[in-house]
């Protein structure tokens, strides 16, 4: 369970996240748990000292990246989600994201995705970067790397979910995503292996 102290620390991290990122997580809660679910999260965030109303979130606005992390961890805590369930949440929230909808036009080929993926990251965050250094249509894999983005381990699971769904959309087949490198495990970056 996230403490007030941990929350304060997260808020202190540099970098911003677009309101869309927070909103889609809460969209998922609304879809899955209804208004009551939203209320629970809002109450939890107030307890942590960072009041945020779902309806007041500006999707295009910029919020501290730590606030997004507080919301995510609160969701995990309030609904007692395990890592797998957080990953599933990641799969589901892709559909709510306007940025993803904009990005979807590049889902025609892996090469196109590799070219565009840094741009889409920048749409979401003001820190870190996302690249696809290696991929093969033939061998059916892609390596996705997140650099300079050490916020909270909850992102490892939720981003796995994102990549699974985006991968499915890109290759028209069910995909599996594994985190092969993690900054919280001492690696210089996060790296994910997507196969299908």
């Amino acid at each position: 369970m996230l403490t007030k102290k941990e929350a304060d620390k997260l808020i202190g991290l540099s970098g911003e996240s677009r309101g869309m990122n927070i909103k889609i997580d809460l969209d998922y809660i609304l879809e899955r748990y209804g208004e009551k679910g939203i209320k629970k999260i809002e109450e939890r965030i107030i307890q942590l000292g960072y009041p945020l109303k779902y309806k007041e979130i500006e999707p295009m606005g910029f919020y501290p990246v730590g606030l997004e992390a507080i919301v995510l961890v609160s969701i995990k805590d309030v609904f007692d989600l395990n890592e797998k369930q957080v990953e599933e949440m990641g799969v589901s929230v892709v559909k709510f994201s306007l940025f993803m909808k904009i990005f979807m036009k590049y889902l025609g080929s892996l090469a196109l995705i590799a070219n565009e993926i840094p741009k889409i990251w920048k749409e979401h965050y003001t820190i870190g970067k996302l690249i696809m250094p290696d991929f093969s249509d033939e061998k059916k894999y892609a390596i996705i790397r997140e650099e300079g983005f050490k916020i909270h381990p909850v992102y490892c699971d939720i981003h796995k979910g994102y990549f699974v769904k985006v991968g499915q959309m890109a290759v028209k087949a069910p995909a599996i995503c594994q985190e092969t490198k993690c900054m919280f495990k001492g690696d210089p970056y996060h790296e994910f292996l997507l196969t299908w």
Binding site: E58, M60, K95, K101, M104, L107, Q168, M169, A170, K172
Partner: protein, 506 residues
């Protein structure tokens, strides 16, 4: 510092605009009643609105990332996608859609290719229109139409069958039939009618009877048509020497409206021939019988008058009985001969100018003896206005009056009366013969003037009548262009009325 603030303000305004735009696009997409989805170039569903989710029966999560081919007939959707890539769009193509847990549904799809700023095809929009209800309505309408068509066909077949049956009946009918429409145009002529008139039906159809010329085989029909305006029944016409027809014209009425007429031609040639042969036989027989009966009469008369010697009373009585019977036989034979002549049209009249009053008086006088015997009072009311003499066959007129007056006396009650009156009315004479006798039962009224008919109540009184008297009387009166009829009530009496035209020339 000020510039930085202005830039921040502008960014803030732009972000607000972006938020509003995003919200606006989202609202349109969500609230569109038309199911819409966005497909990637490789055929993956990337976005779907609530209407599409609803029609598919899948959840949002299930739809996104799924291949579009999973929702449609593969061959049909591939073709539609190819068309979209090639032409840029597909308009209203009908395909089969496979929603979750539902049977396939017919839909129409509309697609538009999506192109980015580099003119690259980056996917396409696809919307669907559910045709289930339309197809169901079409099916129902088609079924209803088919049912109607089947019913119509069935009714048509029935009508055809009925028509064929009717035609078969008409064509095979023993009588000739001509069917006319309401304007008297000939619609149908059956084979029998063709043979009667020795014509071909196709030469008659479409024409009206008055259109036929005097040379036409239908001339006899034309003549009868010109005489009779409306319906007629059993009018006899001679078509040829060996062909006599009875023609009837009846209206065909449907729902109180005349829709045409039917001419029925009944061949009575055989009946007429038999009747003629019968008359000839009766005539011949009667003639053959009358001669010996006349000889017997005169022989008996001579014996009764004592010209051949004296006879005793017993012998006279026997002989008188025989004489009376012989007289009756002669009377009957004369009646039969008269009937034969009437039927053969040989009832020739010797027309002379005569006084009808005098004839009546003579007839009454000849019945005085019988009336006296039966205590019947005779009364003859003479005309107030003098009746002129007019042309008549005296013997036949006398015969007619005798028959009527004889009946009045013979079938009267003891002590009854017979009142005869004669009146002149303009150019006619009116005679009535009234009695208070046994009368004629009502059920026998229609047959009273027919040959050999005798009412049941008179047979009980007199067994010897021939039943020819009134038949002969009627024919005589009508031959003089007159009329005869009666009023009678059983047990109360009868009045016969005669009207004769005063004809001063033959």
């Amino acid at each position: 510092m000020v510039i930085k603030k202005q830039e921040n303000d502008k960014i803030s305004v732009l972000l607000n605009d972006l938020n509003s735009l995003q919200s606006y696009i989202n609202d349109i997409f969500i609230f569109s009643p038309l199911p819409i989805c966005f497909i990637s170039p490789i055929g993956v569903i990337l976005e779907a609105n609530p209407a599409f989710i609803k029609i598919s029966g899948f959840s949002f999560n299930e739809i996104i990332g799924k291949s579009i081919e999973d929702f449609f007939d593969k061959r049909e959707i591939k073709q539609a996608i190819n068309d979209t890539i090639e032409k840029g769009f597909v308009e209203g193509k009908e395909v089969w859609f496979s929603p979750k847990e539902k049977s396939e549904m017919p839909i129409q799809i509309f697609t538009r290719v999506r192109i980015d700023e580099k003119r690259e095809k980056i996917g396409y929009f696809l919307s669907v229109v559910d045709l289930t209800e339309i197809k169901k309505t079409q099916r129902d309408a088609r079924r209803a139409l088919m049912n109607i068509l089947e019913d119509v066909k069935e009714e048509k077949n029935k009508a055809e069958e009925e028509k064929n049956k009717t035609l078969a009946i008409i064509n095979n009918f023993a009588d000739g039939i001509l069917v006319l429409d309401k304007n008297d145009k000939i619609l149908l002529v059956n084979p029998k009618a063709e043979s009667f008139f020795e014509v071909n039906a196709k030469d008659l159809i479409g024409k009206t009877i008055p259109e036929f010329s005097k040379e036409s085989p239908l001339l006899p029909l034309l003549e009868i048509f010109s005489k009779k305006s409306k319906e007629f029944f059993r009018e006899e016409i001679n078509i040829r020497e060996e062909l006599i027809l009875e023609i009837s014209l009846v209206s065909i009425i449907r729902e109180e409206e005349k829709i045409g007429s039917l001419i029925i031609l009944h061949d009575v040639s055989r009946e007429k021939l038999i009747e003629k042969m019968k008359s000839e036989f009766v005539s011949l027989t009667a003639h053959q019988l009358r001669t010996p009966l006349s000889a017997m009469k005169w022989s008996m008369r001579m014996i009764l008058d004592g010209e051949l010697g004296k006879i005793n009373k017993e012998q006279r009585d026997f002989l008188q009985n025989n004489y009376d019977s012989n007289e009756k036989m002669i009377h009957l034979i004369n009646d039969l001969l008269n009937v034969t002549r009437i039927e053969e049209g040989r009832f020739l009249y010797q027309l002379v100018s005569a006084d009808i009053g005098q004839i009546i008086e003579e007839v009454i006088k000849s019945h005085k003896e019988l009336a006296k015997k039966r205590k019947i009072k005779f009364e003859f009311k003479k005309p107030a206005q003098k009746v002129p003499k007019f042309m008549m066959d005296v013997d036949k007129m006398k015969m007619a009056l005798e028959n009527l007056i004889d009946n009045a006396v013979r079938y009267n009650i003891k002590g009854g009366y017979v009142k005869v009156s004669l009146e002149k009315n303009k150019d006619k004479v009116e005679i009535s013969i009234k009695d208070n006798g046994v009368g004629i039962p009502e059920k026998h009224h229609p047959r009273i003037f027919t040959k050999f008919f005798r009412a049941a109540n008179v047979i009980k009184i007199d067994t010897e009548g021939s039943g020819l008297g009134l038949y002969i009387a009627k024919n005589i009166i009508e031959a003089h262009k007159g009329k005869v009829w009666f009023e009678s009530s059983e047990g109360k009496g009868t009045i016969f009325y005669l009207v004769l035209p005063i004809r001063r020339r033959a």
